[in-house]
């Protein structure tokens, strides 16, 4: 199967590419990148010769290298006309919850990866808070096997830091690494013991594995369910102060300095945290961080009306915090955009606000929310935004992904940056509906997703 993606604006932040190029794909790889060719029209095919699969040239010659100078003797099975569209490395979501094993009523590897594909993601990193917890090779292998069988996109598991994510003893991090885990994290349960966190960092550093922390001082958060700010005061809801996050960010930065380990702060939400991370980076501490689309697009005000679909942890914070997140994205203090896709059933969310579980889904809206709230208003260039969703997560997790090059995996996303659409949760591929963006008019989104050269989802024409 040979696919030609033709006439698209190829944006590859890793290589500082932003130009109209044709991409030829075969056997799961990008085999040729050609300069722009005349627009596709009947009878004209530009640099590539479009013929049937039975074209003799195809049969005779195999492999990109051999054919490199054999133009125009190319035949392709399918031409994807990307004129007016953006072609970029497949998006990578470094923070999702696929719920399998254990809570298949909320999401499965099949449904979650299909949601990813529809959202333009070609790879996701799944957090270990499954049941059982991904704290052993067996669970990691189960996830990888299931992903191979049923997954629409690439799945990279994140292993637990501690056994059962209990914060007591280290998990078998070496074996998790060997089994294929790309990072370790106790996910929603911050490692509260500074001593244990120190040991986890030292240990993980042997494998150069990033330690991902959900930064939260549980004592400071207490019974909090929303950001501690004017809205929490107004609504009489228990607040989670920004300091709850920032205190842990500060502590872990110091521990990363002590150990030389790689620290990744999940879903940064508070201005104070951005400040601390920015300052640590200037000192050369090996710290990176991600931010979610919902923290970039929404503030604590979204909670008014006691909307449980605006309840997540860390909570939506103030407008000043949101502005600090935008600034952090612009100046590089914040490396990546990740969804923290957290599916919950309707009945769980349809409860009293303080009873409903934390978390929102994001795979099917992340790109569109990013384009609508960051790119179209000019906060980030399209190339910068794509970098936060591709090359940056790939760099942090050392994934062989996130770039466009001859010989690279053909994990590609085709984006229509201007497509207007309305978020309708009932149309989601995800099993869950808990999005704060229901009914939003968004501009832009993925129109095709290719993983390993295969079109796993498309809405082209």
């Amino acid at each position: 199967m040979r696919i030609l993606i033709k006439g698209g604006r190829v944006i590859d932040p890793a290589n500082a590419v932003d130009e109209i190029l044709d991409l030829l794909i075969e056997d799961g790889k990008i085999i040729r990148i050609n300069p722009p060719t005349p627009p596709l029209q009947k009878g004209g095919t530009g640099g590539f010769d479009v013929r049937g699969t039975d074209a003799p040239e195809t049969r005779k010659t195999k492999g990109a290298r051999a054919e490199k100078n054999a133009e125009p003797a190319w035949s392709v099975d399918r031409v994807m006309d990307a004129t007016g569209l953006v072609v970029c490395p497949g998006l990578i979501d470094m923070h999702v919850h696929l719920r399998q094993p254990g809570r298949e009523d909320k999401e499965t590897i099949a449904s979650g990866t299909m949601a990813a594909a529809r959202g333009g993601f070609t790879a996701v990193c799944c957090m270990p808070n499954t049941d059982p917890v991904n704290d052993t090779r067996a669970v990691t292998e189960f996830i990888l096997d299931a992903a191979k069988r049923e997954g629409a996109v690439q799945v990279y598991p994140v292993g637990a830091i501690t056994k059962g994510m209990k914060g007591e003893e280290l998990a078998e991090i070496g074996e998790l690494f060997e089994a294929g885990c790309v990072a370790i994290s106790d996910d929603g349960r911050p490692v509260m013991s500074a001593e244990l966190m120190r040991r986890a960092m030292e240990y993980a550093a042997m494998f150069d594995l990033p330690v991902i922390q959900h930064s939260e001082d549980l004592h400071l958060s207490g019974r909090g369910v929303v950001h501690e700010g004017f809205v929490s005061t107004d609504l009489g809801l228990h607040g989670i102060p920004s300091a709850s996050e920032a205190v842990m960010v500060a502590r872990d930065i110091l521990l990363a300095e002590l150990t030389g380990a790689r620290l990744h702060i999940a879903h940064v939400s508070a201005a104070e945290s951005v400040r601390l991370i920015r300052e640590a980076k200037t000192r050369g501490v090996r710290v990176s961080c991600e931010v979610t689309p919902h923290h970039l697009a929404l503030t604590e005000e979204a909670v008014r009306g006691f909307h449980a679909d605006a309840k997540m942890n860390p909570p939506l914070r103030s407008e000043a915090d949101r502005q600090a997140l935008l600034e952090g994205l612009r100046d590089g203090a914040i490396d990546a955009i990740a969804t923290d896709h957290a599916p919950h059933t309707v009945q769980e969310k349809e409860q009293e606000f303080d009873q409903a579980p934390f978390g929102v889904i994001g795979l099917e809206t992340a790109l569109a929310v990013t384009l609508t709230t960051l790119v179209h208003p000019g906060v980030l260039t399209l190339s910068q935004a794509i970098g936060k969703l591709t090359s940056e997560p790939a760099r942090i997790l050392k994934l062989p992904k996130g770039r466009i090059a001859e010989g690279a995996d053909a994990d590609l996303t085709i984006i229509d940056p201007n497509r207007d659409w309305t978020v309708d949760p009932s149309a989601f591929a995800s099993k869950s509906r808990n999005t704060p963006f229901a009914g939003w008019r968004l501009r832009g989104g993925a129109v095709a997703t290719l993983v390993g050269g295969k079109v796993v989802w498309e809405a082209l024409r």
């Binding site: 107004d234 009489g236 006691f306 409860q351 606000f353």
Partner: protein, 309 residues
């Protein structure tokens, strides 16, 4: 005129005219309460359900008596908080009640937003009788009624609300209601019990009782939940009482005719000294009595009373 909404969820959403209407209607209801035979047929054939997820004596009884004096059929449902977690969801309880066609459901619930949650799902009128630390509008209305009855007006009066503002739905409802009626509101309490950004509600904030009560017309003391001590919000009842308890001695800092209020139940000797609670300027029992009239007015208005045409 009547009330614009189907429900009474918060003081925030009421207009000045609606508050006046409720207070004026409560005046005529108070007349009923003083009759020998306290029964009018206004709500005959209507069903009132008191749905209480928190223990309550005065509010539940007050709504029950108010409903009965108006000839409504009143049903009380008490659900202990402990059974909420394992029991039926609020949604299902609401839908079950809905199938019994109540006209009015009065709900008290430990979760902020619970009344609004029910209001969105039920055709019945919902009265919020306290949702977490959010609002308790009927309390604020009876407080306004009591002050207006005593002073003859609300506009221009100054009030100090003292105590655990952070956890108080009474404080929130009164702040909204009093400000709408032209009153100036101060709040005071230990710094640990003053929620952040409370000043953005337009109140003046104090951590000194003496300074807060100087020059005010009304002092409203809030009940101290003693379990806040375990949560680290104050060191001891002794110290709380020393700093924020209202005693005859402390009252010297206030105007001599200052009115004293408390939503009850009171902790005698903690936030309020017995001789203050029982003193000449205490309106605590007036508040209870007026609660009946105000709740009769609410039930009457929400059941369609006062609508013209």
């Amino acid at each position: 005129m009547g009330l614009a909404g189907k429900d009474l969820l918060s003081m925030r959403e009421l207009t000045v005219d609606e508050i006046r209407l409720i207070l004026d209607t409560a005046e005529s209801m108070k007349e009923v309460a003083r009759r020998d035979i306290k029964k009018v047929p206004a709500l005959r054939g209507k069903t009132l359900i008191n749905l209480f997820y928190e223990p309550s004596t005065r509010t539940r009884t007050s709504f029950e008596i108010a409903g009965k004096w108006l000839s409504a059929d009143v049903i009380n449902i008490s659900i202990s908080s402990s059974s909420v977690a394992k029991g039926e969801s609020l949604k299902d309880t609401g839908l079950t009640l809905q199938a019994m066609h109540p006209d009015i459901v009065v709900i008290r619930h430990p979760s902020a937003g619970a009344a609004e949650f029910l209001a969105k799902r039920l055709a019945a009128s919902i009265i919020n009788a306290g949702d977490g630390a959010h609002e308790h509008p009927s309390q604020a209305l009876l407080d306004l009624f009591t002050i207006r009855e005593k002073v003859g007006r609300l506009e221009g009066l100054k009030v100090a609300i003292i105590g655990d503002i952070a956890h108080s739905r009474v404080a929130r409802s009164n702040i909204h209601g009093m400000q709408k009626m032209g009153m100036e509101v101060r709040v005071a309490g230990p710094r640990t019990m003053l929620p952040r950004f409370i000043e953005r509600l337009g109140v003046e904030v104090f951590t000194s009782l003496d300074r807060a009560i100087a020059e005010v017309d009304v002092i409203m003391m809030l009940r101290l939940q003693t379990e806040r001590q375990q949560a680290g919000l104050f060191p001891s009842l002794r110290e709380y009482s020393r700093l924020f308890g209202l005693t005859v001695e402390r009252l010297k800092a206030a105007q001599s005719n200052v009115l004293i209020m408390h939503p009850g139940p009171i902790n005698r000797g903690v936030e309020i000294a017995p001789d203050v609670a029982d003193g000449p300027y205490s309106l605590i029992l007036n508040q209870v009595e007026n609660g009946l009239a105000v709740r009769m007015a609410l039930l009457y208005l929400l059941a369609g009373g006062g609508q013209t045409g």
